[in-house]
């Protein structure tokens, strides 16, 4: 079973110290929700955990080994959902993700539709479907429920639960309460 451990993470963005001495531990099946006001560093922490933003100090360990030592290998553990959907307007929904993942987010009826014709909420669901289809152990989600209707939020929570039951881990920044069991909260 995997274990992600962050010890005293500090991160600069430009000249500004955004994160200072952030520590947490996340076991397999765990979910960590990042909270904090706008600009508190939630997205920065997610980007740092993904290896996109470099650490100024501290250590990030995956199964007690330096996670950021080999970034391409670390990337293979991560399913990323940023605040942008990374949806290509010219491709159809089915060209973004497999049919099963589309069904999981209720987009099967739109499979052959070019993504430029999807609404903002549907694009978000498509981005979530890509995460769900990835089969990677660590989900890093930046405001995953933005633009989702109530039914889509429930589908998303079901996907999270399935992922956790399979030993997956989730770290999410969100202002919306996630109705999941065993949620740990890290306030920045």
């Amino acid at each position: 079973m995997h274990l992600l451990t962050a010890s005293n993470l500090s991160v600069f963005r430009g000249e500004r110290l955004v994160l200072s001495n952030v520590s947490f531990s996340l076991p397999a099946g765990g979910i960590l929700v990042l909270r904090g006001e706008n600009g508190a560093g939630k997205s920065t922490l997610l980007r740092t955990l993904a290896g996109l933003t470099p650490l100024a100090a501290g250590a990030l360990k995956w199964d007690n080994e330096d996670a950021l030592n080999d970034l391409p290998s670390h990337a293979k553990r991560i399913a990323w959902l940023g605040h942008l959907d990374a949806v290509k307007p010219a491709l159809t929904a089915a060209e973004h993700v497999p049919a099963a993942a589309l069904a999981a987010v209720g987009l099967s009826a739109y499979a052959e539709l070019p993504a430029r014709l999807l609404s903002a909420g549907q694009k978000r669901r498509l981005a979530i479907a890509r995460v769900a289809a990835s089969a990677k152990p660590l989900w890093l989600l930046d405001e995953p429920t933005t633009g989702l209707d109530a039914a889509s939020v429930l589908r998303f929570l079901a996907l999270c639960e399935t992922h956790r039951q399979g030993g997956g881990m989730i770290i999410a920044s969100t202002h919306t309460p996630l109705e999941l069991s065993g949620v740990e909260v890290l306030t920045l």
Partner: protein, 214 residues
């Protein structure tokens, strides 16, 4: 990497207007010279190789601002950097796609354009031979410039300002080889520049991509 190249090729086909615009620019820019200088075959033949080279160089610059720009704006760049490929691998894949969708079509059209500009037929194969590494070099250096200017204000203006000076040696040797009595030296220089840029440009572009994603 193959999967990334295929996906990018599919996207390029869906945005076929970008490639078409480059090719049309190449043809139109080339055809302006006879209008400006007159149709005299001697004059045109003397400048044909240089005109084709310069027009190809400028035409290949056109799609560069969208090479990473669209991915940067829609969040795909993060996914590319988290794809498990090293950043230089992502840059190399983008370079390959740029050459396949822009450099190669330019190379194919360069022959007829050169003949229209009265380049002697026996010089056309040599022109194409020089444009082969030349367009590849342009894709490599253009990708580097596109990555460096990613996220910068006025990136579309900065990119040619970075790429064009870097391409001057290629232009000199490429155009000279076509009309030279002994073209092998210039061809060797082109090959050497390509061999140097092949590993270095993706490495530099990869570092720039990571910096842009921070």
């Amino acid at each position: 990497m193959i999967a990334l190249i295929l996906r990018e090729l599919k996207l390029s086909l869906r945005h076929g207007a970008d490639t078409t615009a480059s090719l049309l620019f190449f043809i139109i820019a080339g055809t302006l010279f006879p209008f400006a200088l007159g149709p005299g075959p001697t004059t045109l033949a003397a400048i044909a190789a240089g005109v084709v080279w310069v027009c190809a160089l400028l035409a290949a610059l056109l799609p560069l601002d969208r090479l990473f720009g669209a991915d940067y704006e829609d969040g795909t760049l993060d996914l590319l950097l988290l794809s498990g490929l090293p950043a230089y691998g992502v840059a190399f894949a983008k370079t390959a796609v740029h050459w396949l969708t822009t450099g190669l079509p330019l190379l194919i059209i360069a022959g007829p354009l050169a003949i229209m500009l009265r380049l002697p037929a026996e010089h056309v194969p040599l022109l194409l031979l020089t444009l082969l590494p030349g367009t590849m070099l342009l894709s490599l250096l253009g990708t580097l410039a596109a990555a460096i200017t990613l996220g910068a204000r006025r990136a579309a203006v900065l990119m040619p300002l970075i790429t064009l000076p870097l391409m001057i040696p290629t232009l000199i040797f490429g155009a000279a080889a076509v009309t030279s009595a002994h073209p092998s030296a210039a061809l060797y220089m082109l090959a050497a520049m390509f061999c140097a840029a092949l590993p270095l440009a993706p490495l530099g572009a990869g570092a720039a991509l990571k910096a842009a994603a921070e």
